[in-house]
């Protein structure tokens, strides 16, 4: 096993230590450890044995400095507690696992200054690429990304001018399509329930697309309710209660995410509101976590897994200037589009 000398602070081992222990030059040790260049089986074995028995862990800092190659990919996302981003991460990891690249995650909490700081911090490690959520960034952030000289992929939003590559859906379009489906379903008194966060650009764009498409159909959002804080079932319940108290005539509720949408659904069921007859519901995201609810909420899948995969592939292949726009997929579930049934019973 590892050589545990007395408890003094042991200096980390270096290539030189392995070199001495194996009687092979540092350079050759380096080659063995990186599987680079031809090395005889004999020396190879000697070196590996020495490295293993010493417990040598290479110093990538020195390696990266010498080779100016860093196998890190910076991934910058607003939050980990949102369920959406971990899924993107899964897609990214899935692809990077087949390469020697390693994702490094930074979290911004939806704050531009934080994003700037995290970005600066990560770029200072000279990663091989950056995957960053959203297409809205501070001037300083954009400048850093533009001049970093590495592949940059902005993900999850294609409405805007990307710095380099972009992968995701158009949230305006997602909003529009949901509006069209609702109109088609025969609903007319439409309420919106969403987040207050002015910095959640994607939610904002969905809302814009939504109202725009409603307007084209001669409709508008009748009433709305905003909240701040995490998305949770209970929030959805409360908001729905408040909104319906204020505007009892609503016949459709569009939630800005599935979690609060599910809360709204539970509220409707508890209070005996017939869904989707008397009231239609829809959320956003396609969170399968909620699959076991009594009714399946209508939603719009944003292709998070595919987004992560595609972004990672762009980085892995060192591509630039790609644009991959995914199609948001409407899932009707059990809460949208049965208005006619209700009308018949009315």
């Amino acid at each position: 096993m590892t050589d545990h000398s007395p408890d003094e602070a042991r200096r980390p081992l270096t290539l030189r230590d392995v070199s001495e222990a194996s009687g092979v030059s540092e350079m050759t040790v380096s080659r063995v450890l990186r599987n680079r260049g031809d090395v005889s089986q004999a020396t190879r074995a000697k070196v590996l044995e020495a490295a293993r028995s010493l417990g040598y862990v290479p110093n990538k800092i020195a390696g990266a400095l010498a080779s100016s190659r860093v196998n890190l990919v910076a991934v910058i996302i607003p939050s980990l507690s949102n369920m959406v981003f971990p899924e993107v991460m899964t897609g990214i990891s899935e692809v990077l696992d087949d390469t020697d690249l390693q994702p490094v995650v930074g979290v911004t909490n939806y704050r531009p200054e934080q994003e700037e700081k995290v970005l600066y911090e990560m770029l200072s490690w000279r990663p091989s690429g950056v995957i960053i959520a959203g297409i809205e960034h501070s001037d300083a952030s954009r400048a850093m990304l533009a001049s970093a000289g590495i592949p940059v992929v902005e993900i999850m939003d294609t409405d805007g001018r990307p710095i380099d590559s972009v992968v995701g859906i158009s949230h305006r379009r997602a909003g529009r399509e949901m509006a069209k489906a609702i109109v088609k379903g025969g609903y007319t008194k439409i309420g919106f329930l969403g987040t207050k966060m002015p910095l959640d650009h994607r939610a904002r764009k969905r809302f814009e697309g939504f109202t725009e498409a409603l307007a084209k159909a001669g409709l508008e959002v009748h009433d709305q309710e905003f909240y701040s804080g995490g998305s949770a079932l209970s929030k959805g319940r409360e908001m729905t209660a408040a909104l319906l108290e204020r505007s009892p005539k609503l016949d459709f509720l569009y939630f800005s995410n599935d979690m609060i949408g599910a809360g709204g659904l539970l509220y409707c069921r508890d209070t005996g509101i017939d869904v989707p007859g008397r009231m239609g519901l829809a959320g956003f995201n396609g969170i399968d976590l909620l699959d076991g609810l009594p009714q399946k909420l209508a939603t719009m899948d944003a292709g998070r897994l595919d987004t992560g995969r595609a972004a990672a592939r762009i980085i892995a292949e060192g591509r630039h200037g790609e644009r991959i726009e995914l199609t948001p997929r409407l899932e009707f579930g059990d809460t949208l589009g049965r208005k006619t049934v209700f009308d018949a019973e009315d």
Copy 2:
């Protein structure tokens, strides 16, 4: 703005560039950029202006090599899609945000070999500390951690022999206490529903503690159902249906996590099973995400936020050999302990 010369691959800027642009020695530039040592206001201003206008981003690789100081903390967790780990991360970030340390996340997918690989990879960047989930690791992993010469905090499980520091709860104890509460509630025909994963040591330990405490009360787990795959409401429903079909006489179901527990709860309600009269239910974790369900599931909070905070503090303060055992907190909710009410009505 940044000087955008023609599109040729620009060499990243170095201290030397800033030095030349500002007419100040590299050394002094370095001091300004790090706020180290005394520098006159005049030079200070010159340097900052030059750095800013060039868009200089320091190279931490070189800095780290020269100073052998790295402001990274390796955080190694099994999964991001589990809801539990993001919450721990939140606690970690919260504390590290007040320092100059940066968390770097690695994911193992509950696989020891993956853990070993990720650990090796991260240690090769010479981080200032390691926070790692669980207390079970491969020999190689333990050896790496033990000889890294940095603070190591194993989190979320205190049942075992830690390498350095440990923060978390005893899952055996959590299982025992839940068993006691169930016994006290008057339930006797107890079913267990959990994950198949033999590598989820914490779930295993809870189960062991659970059966042990039941045994002490002269009871045993009457029937059980295992599954693999992600935790989701629908899984909970299916498992509950299967288990109750097989063993209709059960009067309590203990789920290994809140998500499947919630699914079980929904199933019981849908099929008209009186909870907690005819059937008691409990999960594990205290996921407030589910707060808005019709009934609140009994659960055991594992103090994830506090765990993250405490672990980060140990790293930030460079402490060694700490042991912080948190107390799992039983939350009765609405699904445990009203057996007597039912008995009266029976």
